[in-house]
């Protein structure tokens, strides 16, 4: 978007359908009592992160942004990893 490059129109409606379907799947998956809690949590988080990724890539147009903005956006990731590590140590 910002670089002035031309590209195909993003598949906005297709992403919307994907988000909708994943939300329904999440709600259904959360009600499955036969799955161990840990796998339930991993599956739900995987679906949530996939949805968040689609929003960031297609709706926030990160896919078409310059690599330097990607670098900037990735700055919090190591900070989040540190936070998770600290949280993990706090719990166990």
């Amino acid at each position: 978007m910002s670089t002035g490059e031309t590209h195909k129109p993003p598949p906005y409606m297709l992403v919307w359908v994907g988000l909708f379907v994943l939300t329904i799947m999440e709600v259904f998956y959360a009600t499955l009592s036969s799955i161990p809690k840990i796998w339930l949590a991993i599956g739900l988080m995987a679906m949530a992160f996939l949805k968040a990724y689609w929003v960031a890539i297609y709706y926030m147009h990160l896919k078409w942004e310059p690599k330097r903005l990607w670098l900037l956006v990735s700055v919090p990731i190591p900070l989040i990893m540190i936070l998770i590590f600290v949280v993990h140590n706090e719990i166990f």
């Binding site: 910002s2 129109p9 993003p10 942004e65 700055v75």
Partner: protein, 217 residues
Amino acid sequence: MTTQAMTAGRAPMPGMKVYNLKLGMWIFLLSEVMFFTGLIGSYVILRFAHPEQFAEPGQVLNINLTAFNTFLLICSSVTMVKAYAAIQQGDQQGLKNWLLATIVIGASFVGVQVYEYIALAGEGFVPIAEAYHAVGRHMPHDGPAIGGQLYGSTFYTMTGFHGTHVSIGVLCLCFTYWRAAKGAYTADSLGGVEIMGLYWHFVDLVWIILFTIVYLI
């Protein structure tokens, strides 16, 4: 369309290839990522450390209602991005229509959240330690409490901060709509719509994570 044209002559940040307004919004959003990560991290610590203070999914919170609210926010994201796509084509009426749809859906999200809060408070699920007595959905009011005060405090803190962000977003959308009605945006000057969209999609993205962690796990 070039960056120079989109920002009506304002130079992009040297080396970043992104105009300043947008770079500023991204930096603000990154600070918001850390803010919400801090809140979610605290919730995870408390939940693992005191599992008896929290309820199983669906025991206290209304998952179906919130799933509907999640659907609303997802719809508002697509209407927001449609508004941006409309002004990219120079479609002023399309921009206004899609922005209005985003405002209505965003306000509906806040309305449903207020309704949810009122219903939960009526069932004893409150953030006040002394008054907490959540008996669960469709249960007699004099039954034993499910979970504890930590559940109420963390729930209202996380969803409350998010709801505040949505409410501020709706106000900013109204301002964007007002400017759009005055013809302030064109295909060559749409930076305001784009950064409004970035904020709105971020709010949607945070809710996607919150919905899973708070309501489903």
